[in-house]
Symmetry: C2
Subunit: 334 residues, 2 copies
DNA sequence: GTGAAAGCGCTAACAA
DNA sequence: TTGTTAGCGCTTTCAC
């Protein structure tokens, strides 16, 4: 591997000049040409470790997710990778598998690896834990949160409450009065907000909320399956059900299929996330679609801004609208 | 941030001793205790850039995939991340979005970022292109291929031919004689091998192969949908169809649903990848299940071995068995 | 616009 | 076992 020194010798210029050129400084046109030629023939590549040692910046971003295998996160991640690469950043990807201990451990791991910034989807972590990390507290490693909320941090979120509100409203308009919903753990902010949306829709139409119809899952397929069965086993089961993420939607529909229930003839259903779902199921189902590309873009942009040292409008909270994609899974109650 | 020098001053020991201890060398028990205490109170963390500059090793691995959003790759990736983190490596994740240009560009990107090793799922890249990279040619950056094959490189592959052979055999045993198959682009080795499996099953039972029944998709949902429709539009359509990856399976089934075809009453179907599929579809479908966890494990182990400098048994080819998960999507032809 | 020189934090001889 | 020292490749003052 050739170094800046080799380029210096080859061109007869000092390493300072080479470095200057490499970092976008002004050099005589004649020298520029010589440097370019030297870099080409020597196959010179900058040594990022040396640069990082000197500048304290690694041009690396850490992305920390609960799981990689959730399509919602995987798609966001793909978008972020694309945006970051375009800016010359590489992406350390970590997953904490929904374990609170791993969540904090991986966060420390990323900070210790000297990433320039972190994008994370928090789960159990508190503002205190985050602030407990020196690099974070002193804003030397900016952290932008995604999808879920922790106070006092930059964050990009979907409008979860309205998303569910509008979906439930759609069911109400179609005549449903007993609407089941499978939400995530209430300590996860998305789940909490979605529950609010459910209640708000009921309030709008002066309908009572039966707490039995609000089932708590854990965002896994299995929990969607289990809670759907619990709903269907009620003495007075709901005429419509809503799943509030991709996995629980899949689980819930599987449960309905197993009982040979026809959607929407026997029961209406609204799902969440991933366009694929709308068509793959038989029949296609109505779903809440989150603005994945926008979430990724805003998050990345805020992080890039913070990494530039621009701490204007801190903490920045960005709320993005969802869409209700109407298909054939909502009918009128029996 | 405190440095090794601070620890040195705090303990009264030389930085060489601190460094030695930090790298697992022997130190007097008394000194060890002092170092530990100093590290604790000063909150010392090694500077990875400095270490990398000195050692030429970054303890970073690059993982390069065609897409992040394919569940098959996402799950493999999650497994790899877990294994790598356990070894203290962090994972740069890149996707080339199935573009040949991006594939080679991202590969260079990773090499240039000085990763210690690379795991990649190749698509269009040739052995020559790979060997064109100095770091790779001189085995300074080991590359282990996954899922797809390029000669003369370490690689971990599924037994694609047997996987499809056994699935098609299952259909033949059930009385099917006109079996459609939607394969990927034949220049991708998995697709080529799966096609061989299809032909081999036919040969085993002395059945003719109708080339019209072998449809070529591109591993996308849309192509599965399109090719399934092409099959169903034939004057003499197949009585059974097989999809050869997750996406095309989803597309094909969507097409069948749209025509109100009942599986397996109207047509039999065997899918590929992802257990979820077996249950989510109505009815659950028989699928080929690839050994995701094993693929990740073997790949990671080979890479770790190479990064240790152990080039024994090169190039290593690891073939892993798939499973045929029987469900309710295969019946007898009409 | 260019160059000399210092030093980022660490590892690895080598000497003691 | 411990310490001294050189130097990894780069950026960045500060003279010129």
């Amino acid at each position: 591997m050739s170094t800046i020194k080799d380029v210096s010798q080859y061109t007869g210029l000092s390493i300072a000049t080479i470095s200057k050129y490499l970092n976008g400084g002004n050099v005589l046109e004649e020298n520029r040409a010589r440097i370019v030629a030297a870099v080409e023939t020597l196959g010179y590549k900058v040594n990022h470790a040396a640069r990082a040692l000197k500048t304290n910046r690694t041009r690396t971003v850490g992305v920390l997710l609960p799981t990689l295998t959730t399509p919602f996160f995987a798609e966001i991640c793909a978008n972020i990778e694309h945006l970051l690469t375009a800016e010359g950043y590489s992406m350390f990807l970590c997953s904490y598998y929904e374990h609170p201990d791993e969540e904090i451990a991986k966060l420390h791991f990323l900070v210790e690896k000297s990433v320039d910034g972190i994008i994370m989807v928090p789960q159990s972590i508190t503002a205190d834990s985050l602030m407990g990390i020196e690099q974070v507290r002193e804003k030397r490693t900016p952290v932008v949160l995604m999808d879920r909320s922790v106070a006092e941090f930059d964050r990009v979120l979907a409008d979860n409450s309205s998303a569910v509100h509008d979906a439930v409203e759609e069911l109400i308009i179609n005549g449903h009065r007993r609407i089941g919903i499978i939400i995530g753990p209430p300590d996860i902010t998305t789940a909490f907000e979605r529950k609010i949306g459910y209640e708000r829709a009921h309030a709008d139409y002066s309908l009572p909320v039966d707490p039995e119809l609000i089932r708590i899952g854990d965002y896994s397929i299995g929990s969607g399956y289990r809670e759907m069965n619990a709903l269907l086993n009620m003495k007075e089961p709901p005429t419509a059900v809503m799943g509030t993420n991709h996995e629980m939607t899949v689980g819930a529909i599987t449960a309905a299929y197993e009982r040979k229930l026809k959607i929407p003839d026997d029961i209406s259903f609204i799902g969440y996330d991933e366009v694929q779902l709308t068509k793959v199921f038989n029949p296609p189902i109505t779903i809440v679609l989150q603005p994945i590309e926008e979430i990724a873009r805003h998050t990345t942009e805020i992080l890039l801004k913070r990494m530039r040292g621009d701490y204007g409008a801190f903490p920045q909270v960005c709320r993005l609208k969802t869409k209700l994609l109407l298909h054939e899974s909502v009918g009128r109650p029996l």
